[in-house]
Symmetry: D3
Subunit: 291 residues, 6 copies
């Protein structure tokens, strides 16, 4: 597997520091694990004992979430030092990705929370990397969806970018996607697009979800900026691209797997969105090993 | 697959109402999805339009998280009514599990958050049901671990119970589990157990993680209440059970899969803990369909 | 002044209930005014005394913020009833807009907070109405900016809509507006637009701020969705519209007043944004009168 | 306009650090503007680019809120340095009041929030300075009211002091002001004052609002510490001062403008309170210019 | 012990509903006791079991905090009903003061939190009642201090009032009390009083703490509204009253006990403040008995 | 009174840094005392004045809470330095336990909050020391209960440990204690213990409260890990120890005082729990003296 062009400065694009949502989930994760205190470490590890631990990646994949390890330990104990040893977003097999040093109790207390975050985000980044490689050079862009783990939206979308795919909208306030129910409520595609256009910020695009070529035509005529063709077969998508004729970019969505991507790319759609990038990526194995 | 004895009153054991952690993750999930508002629904759906939607389970498994659907909509709009149509924790294939009625905008705005929770918790409950069935009648109890999704600990442990398995400790404050690093820091198993015994609440048990029979002996002699045999083969576990000779219950842990459970059960250990119950359960497919 | 078509259902579009930011500013406002308690009312008004008060609009303008009066009193005392007597967003001169009934202490304690919100939001809605009327029938759309009162962004943008104008982006996460500093950092307009296009969600438009026709050309060529012509004179704007030639909509901004709007409209730009709508609208006089 | 004696140590009297309300509004302001991230800066400005920007005051007035600029950037990014270049509370025309240096993305992301606070607080400080100058040497003290922007009470009252006026009570818990409704509920001025005296802390004064000389007499007789003469004409105020005869200080209030202050001062009242200091001060123009 | 005139409407003066501090301590108390759930009740009490419990007062004293019982159960489970059976603030010996009915698990889960609050507040109310009776008819008013339990200030000051004493200032923002350190920093009593007078709200009184008659004279001359004579003997206080000669009310403070109150009353001081009312009142015994 | 073996490293076991509950009560305590600001210090102490103060212990006892003094001042003003001069948990009579240096206003503003915490926690630590000494060498362990001050649970239990006693469970989620009401609801001791055993974590012990020897037998037979003998006389306890015959440890509880401890120890029970350790310990006198 060859490296994709994810720059090491991606690291600096870590959303955590300024994001109140990252801060909130971090606090919640520490509270739920540590609660009233790590009774085992407090009872068995001398208060002045120090330790150095290594965070090991134990399977092939893209590491993601390293800056969070630093934030977790900073929140637990400012006396702990975290060194990040590989670039965030880099691919590796079995390797040490970070080193954690300081008071032994604190090093141990943060272990599970740190690993729980990193294994999940790295799982998503790895799945994203695989998807990005599957479409490399084809002109197709792979997007995520809003099918993310509750509370982890900002982090999981960061993992998708870290893996080399791109983000669809971040939430319901961040773009218009008119689906079947909106269309029915508004009285048709044309009415829905016009209502949206007359109300949303001029910086917001409008996408319409369709399942037929007739709906595609109506969406384009109504001025949609983007059309999502839902649950289309490969030949449906080909037909849709032909009918759109460059008037509007198309997004394919619905039940598409990694294996389908090359065929989807050949249809000529511009975007494909995969819920599985976030909801079914699985975890990548990591462990913190004290030395 | 036959029904396991998960009573319908499990429903009333939903931890959400009183749990500040459930309230926190619920609020966070709604904020991250809805942000400044659902611009699509506000623009295309008339304010006085009403809708009824059905929450469909679309694959075989145990439904879990239904009370959360009610809480999500209550937080969004008190005008929305949620009817739960099947018992929480029941097994089904393709079926309607809940109905949501009220202002159409609100019904649509809560869709993704509700489905994101239910699909994940039901995935865990289903995996737990499979594990519980695999050991039914054997005397082996399947436990979860602390390898849960950050922020969702309370909910995921509830899903494990709903599926028919049991919970290991909830957090670091909720039981003593002495691992290799603690042992080294304390100067041996005996010292570690004694230190713990002299400090923790009389209502807290002490478990020691071992990897050899010699360590097992030392743990038992030191007064451990429970011994975790880590990464043992089936024959290791058999030997450990023989050596423990009923003096202390044993827990098997480390890389055990669903397929291994019958063999593990035959070794005679009392508990087995599976990280995969929570970190690799996958999602169970659900969708909210407006009528 | 004739009524503009602001429907009475705008009322139902009140963002308060679901918005954590509205809830936060509401709580903050009550805390800062009431603190440890309304010592005057508690000392002088019998606990069982009841009162009815009227919220009077005392000058011509558009009332805005009435649903907030209901939320303020609900937060203070569920025993207080608030009746809204005129449509949110309606124009009036001297009139009663709401009635507040219940325990006299509570009616008095909420007075100042309620009036402080309504007078400010009504001031903005009134200024927006004047701007909307100034461009009625011309095809020019008046937008707000991010020059809002800290903490009141969601409410002030709601007041702008209530008055009949439209909202530009809600925050820095909600659209791309490339200004001079971004252009310099990116190495030119073309580089900046391409960098943005390659990263942001497909549902996000890209606007470029320019001050010359050459920059306008470059922005259009680079694929900007919208061009903001900053601080242009009327003739600059005319020239820009001619040069854009329909390839991209134009937004005028910078030092434009209500009196300038007809002339701006005649230039043919699509949007004009006015910081003064929010930062200099002034308050509309209201008072709560107990009967 | 000559400088009033606002010491540069006023700076150290900045209430922000210890005030949970200042911290709350600051957090709210950053969240509402930055939300999920500054997508424009993240997309167009290299992560390692640095910048220096100057905060320009662009019109004559009193600068106020500079310490907040420092707190805003500290919250955003500890790598940003803020230098305050003029004394908080000083009068100036066109000048640089602060310099902001550090990572370019962070410098740009904080711009709007910083300017939004400073322009509003400086507007209030400037209006307060004008009022303080209008009464300089007369013995009349100008006070603010509780007619402040919701959520900004502590900051706006600080701006009033920075401009050279003084604060009336901070909230309903911070002094007794008996108005018409309280008097009616208590059964008269005498009863109301006695009820208040018997309940409030010995460190709290009692003020009574009156509109006639008879009420003034009753308030004084009942033991009011201060009397507010509401909506009185200049001759009413003269009569009230004569009748009070030094037994109690008088406060004039109600519809008084800057232009009225010299005449009010000549009546001999001790205090005058102006709602317009906070609710109608307007903004003072500032901008952040990157170099 | 005869009843003092604490009206049953005191009940309605309960500060809880509107006070963010009461809400915060209530939430904190429930979280610290219930944490992740009441495992005993959940394991042993059927989900549909209902119970009725009585809150018994088991020693002579003034009951205080009953409205809090209602709020605690409302927060835990809206299905629980709480009836208050005696007036808040009434004196009793052994009696039932409230009844709690509803789901048995919830009734049991809230028991400890409810009793912990009521026993402490009733202890303070009872001590206050004893102090109030000791000075009844003497003209001396007993005040509390800021020596309260951290986090319970608002509640403990309410208990003091419920018992029949009065409150000194609620916090550092709520009145000026110039002590020795302030005097030294300001350069003398006169300078300190003048500095305070020139800055604080006209609704705030200024008290000066003195330990000699010379300081008393200076404080009065400087315009103090109130003088606290610290750690004075009975004869010191007599001398101070004589010297003050009615020019200013005096407060006695420092090491005064319940037994000293009659003698203090005879000195003619207006106020006496007792830290022991809150920090050493002890608890009054209560228990919740399920039937 | 001779020193008990409380190591000076107990200091490092301070729960504050990582505990969200300690942070919450600390913030609440500062907010309730300082509110909108320390008006006296701001008015009378120059902003650039510095001070050094000593925290004096004024009576014999165990000091507890010193790390909190540091946290309080860190929260107030990072410019303040706090030196801890004696070991946390050490016994002393009249002595200086800490020194506080920095801006005089901040030193003064934090005084009351710091002293309020330390006097209460030191009172509890001192009572615990007395209890620990009363049982030294006897094999009896003294435990606390959940009868703590609302909001201070974590801190008060820390004070109990600091004084040399041990903690019973921290909350309802942290151990099973089956009392009479649970037994009745479950249908007997045996049913209750079995229900609990089948549900709680294998790391949680089960304690049963009994009042007769027959119940004791049933609890032991049902598999209780621990038995609490409630309200037993000394001879009851002796009989219970004889009957338990080492099968299970016994805890004595209910109305036991310091004076009873030697007799209780002689009965041979393993644990005794004293509510009075926390709810009736009284305060130990401290004061902050500025130099």
């Amino acid at each position: 597997m060859t490296a994709l062009p994810v720059s090491s400065t991606e690291w600096k694009e870590w959303p955590g520091r300024r994001s109140s949502q990252v801060q909130a989930i971090l606090r919640l994760a520490l509270e739920e694990d540590i609660g009233r205190g790590d009774v085992t470490s407090e009872a068995t590890v001398p208060a002045d004992s120090v330790a150095r631990a290594e965070l090991w990646q134990k399977a092939g994949g893209v590491v993601c979430g390293l800056p969070l390890v630093r934030e977790i330990y900073a929140a637990l104990d400012p006396g702990v030092t975290v060194q990040l040893l590989v670039p965030e977003g880099s691919w590796g097999e079995r390797r040490v990705v970070a080193a954690v040093s300081g008071p032994a109790r604190s090093v141990l207390s943060g272990e599970r929370t740190a690993v729980n975050f990193v294994q999940r985000l790295s799982g998503i980044a790895t799945a994203s990397r695989r998807a990005a490689e599957a479409v490399a050079g084809t002109g197709l862009t792979v997007l995520d969806t809003r099918k993310t783990t509750p509370g982890l939206r900002v982090l999981e979308k960061y993992a998708v970018r870290t893996g080399g795919c791109r983000n669809h909208r971040a939430g319901l306030d961040d773009g218009v996607l008119i689906k079947e129910n909106h269309i029915r409520a508004a009285g048709g595609i044309t009415a829905a697009v016009r209502a949206a256009r007359s109300r949303v910020s001029p910086l917001t695009r409008i996408e319409v979800e369709v399942t037929t070529l007739r709906e595609l035509d109506e969406a384009v005529a109504a001025g949609a900026d983007l059309v999502l063709y839902d649950n289309g077969s490969i030949s449906d998508l080909q037909a849709a691209v032909a009918r759109a004729a460059g008037r509007v970019p198309l997004e394919a969505s619905g039940g598409i797997t990694l294996a389908d991507l090359p065929a989807v790319a050949r249809t000529g759609v511009t975007y494909v969105s995969l819920g599985a990038l976030t909801h079914s990526a699985g975890v990548l194995d990591f462990s913190l090993e004290v030395q």
